[in-house]
Structures are given as structure tokens and as C-alpha cells.
């Protein structure tokens, strides 16, 4: 019974607690109690959905990664806007991207990053978690897309997770 009262995922619990405080417009006794209850209950309920504990090795690299992604999102949006407004037809490409990352959480972060940045959307992942299918809006060749993703996003994630 007592081990039921613990917080199996402290980071998730902390994020849930803080989000509840922000949502409830002003910290009060009630919102703190409710926040603690939610921070305890939601990880308990969703316990089965988490494949394993997230293995962050160096979380302090996260802010630098996030800054780079935000910068890329802005640059990428200008590129996509230019492409949409120009009269010529884009050259879309489907690329199979060979993954070096192994952790599921790291792969999903990479896939989300790909979807948000330069003219690429991640479409699917193979069953053995080795290949990621990426759709690029306008690219000259496969290698260009693969190189860009590898150097800009996968390398920092590898350093963070392995």
C-alpha cells in the first residue's frame, strides 16, 4: 500500500503540478492540493503506457537544443512561405532515414522536431525502430535531407540520451 503513495515519475509529476498551478490562475490552498492529487494520480493511471523510464543522461543540454529548434522553426517557416508563394511546383521526396537513436522517447522527440522544421514531416517508423520515413516538401536529393537531420538534430539528441 505504501509504495502506491510514491511518485514513480518525478519529472512528469512536477510538470503536471506546475501546469495545474498555471491553469488555475493564482496559487491557492485548493489548487496546491488538487495539483498534488493530479501529480500523483495521472502517473499511476498512465503507468502502463510508458515503455520504460526515460533515460536522460544530460538534461542540461535540453535548453540549447530547444533554442536551436525554435530558431529553425522560424527560419523554416520563412522558407516554406517562400516556396508556397512562388509559382514553381515543389519537388517532394520521400526519404528513408536510418536512425541511430534507440530510446523510444528520443526517437519521438526527433520525429516531432523533424515535423516542425525545414520542409520535412516525419510520416512513419518501421516496426523494428530502425527506419524513419520522412517526407520533404522540396529537396534536391535524399542525402541532403539525411545529412541535415543527422548533423543538426540527431547528434545533439545522441549526446543527450546515450
Amino acid at each position: 500500500m505504501l509504495d502506491r503513495l510514491s511518485f514513480p515519475q518525478p519529472w512528469l509529476s512536477l510538470i503536471l503540478f506546475l501546469t495545474w498551478q498555471l491553469l488555475s490562475e493564482g496559487v491557492s490552498g485548493g489548487s496546491v492540493v488538487m495539483g498534488i492529487v493530479l501529480a500523483w494520480a495521472i502517473p499511476q493511471i498512465t503507468h502502463g503506457f510508458w515503455p520504460e523510464r526515460p533515460a536522460f543522461i544530460s538534461p542540461w543540454r535540453m535548453p540549447a537544443y530547444l533554442l536551436r529548434v525554435i530558431k529553425d522553426i522560424i527560419v523554416a517557416s520563412f522558407q516554406v512561405a517562400k516556396l508556397i508563394l512562388s509559382p514553381r511546383q515543389p519537388r517532394p521526396v520521400f526519404v528513408c532515414y536510418p536512425l541511430e537513436l534507440e530510446h523510444p522517447l528520443a526517437i519521438s522527440i526527433l520525429a516531432s522536431t523533424i515535423s516542425l522544421t525545414p520542409g520535412t514531416v516525419s510520416a512513419d517508423i518501421s516496426d523494428d525502430n530502425k527506419l524513419l520515413l520522412v517526407h520533404a516538401l522540396d529537396a534536391a536529393s535524399d542525402e541532403e535531407v539525411i545529412d541535415a537531420i543527422r548533423t543538426r538534430y540527431e547528434k545533439p539528441l545522441l549526446e543527450m540520451f546515450q
Binding site: L22, S77, A81, I114, V121, D124
Partner: protein
């Protein structure tokens, strides 16, 4: 309201509106489903983000507290946009949506 805040708000509003419009133009004129997917996931999300930011600056320059709700909505949109794009792409591949003729490579189905 200070002059700087006013100019920033105007700039962000115009930027946001323009990106939202560009996303919708992309949705309307690009040739196939997979290329259309690019407009909403990037341009529209960034456009709404810019509009949210202008709202945060507007209300804080009016002397109210910093808008937490706007920031929460923006973070939520940025987190969900890639997920919905991904799941829509999967659904489209399952149905076998036609791709544009000049597309290189093939979507796979497993």
C-alpha cells in the same frame, strides 16, 4: 502604452496573420496531400504563436499580469502539431492517397 510595445504588437500581429494566410494558401494550392501537410504544421502554428505573443505583450503593457494561458495554448499547439501531422500522414498512407507525379521515392505500408 509605450511606443516600442505598440510597434512590437503591430509587427507580431501582421507576421502572425501573414503566416496563417500563407499556411492556408499552401493548403489550398499545393498539388497533393503530403505537400499540403507542410503548410498547416509549420506556417499556421507559427502564425498562431506570433498572435499569442502579441496578445501577451498587449495585456502586460495594459498593466495586467503576464498571460499564462496564452503561453500554455502556444506550448500545447507546438506539442500537438507534429503529432497530428504524423497520425494524418499514417492514415493517408493506409488509405493510399495519390502522391504528386514528380514525387521521388514511395510511401511504404506495413
Amino acid at each position: 502604452m509605450s511606443q516600442l510595445a505598440e510597434y512590437t504588437i503591430c509587427f507580431l500581429l501582421l507576421l502572425g496573420g501573414a503566416f496563417t494566410l500563407v499556411g492556408a494558401i499552401g493548403l489550398a494550392r499545393l498539388p497533393d496531400f503530403f505537400t499540403r501537410l507542410h503548410g498547416p504544421t509549420k506556417a499556421t502554428t507559427l502564425g498562431v504563436g506570433a498572435i499569442m505573443l502579441s496578445s501577451v505583450i498587449y495585456f502586460s503593457s495594459q498593466g495586467e499580469s503576464i498571460g499564462i494561458s496564452e503561453i500554455l495554448i502556444t506550448v500545447f499547439l507546438f506539442m500537438t502539431a507534429p503529432v497530428s501531422a504524423n497520425i494524418l500522414a499514417k492514415a493517408a498512407m493506409h488509405i493510399g492517397v495519390k502522391t504528386a507525379e514528380n514525387t521521388e521515392g514511395q510511401p511504404w505500408e506495413q
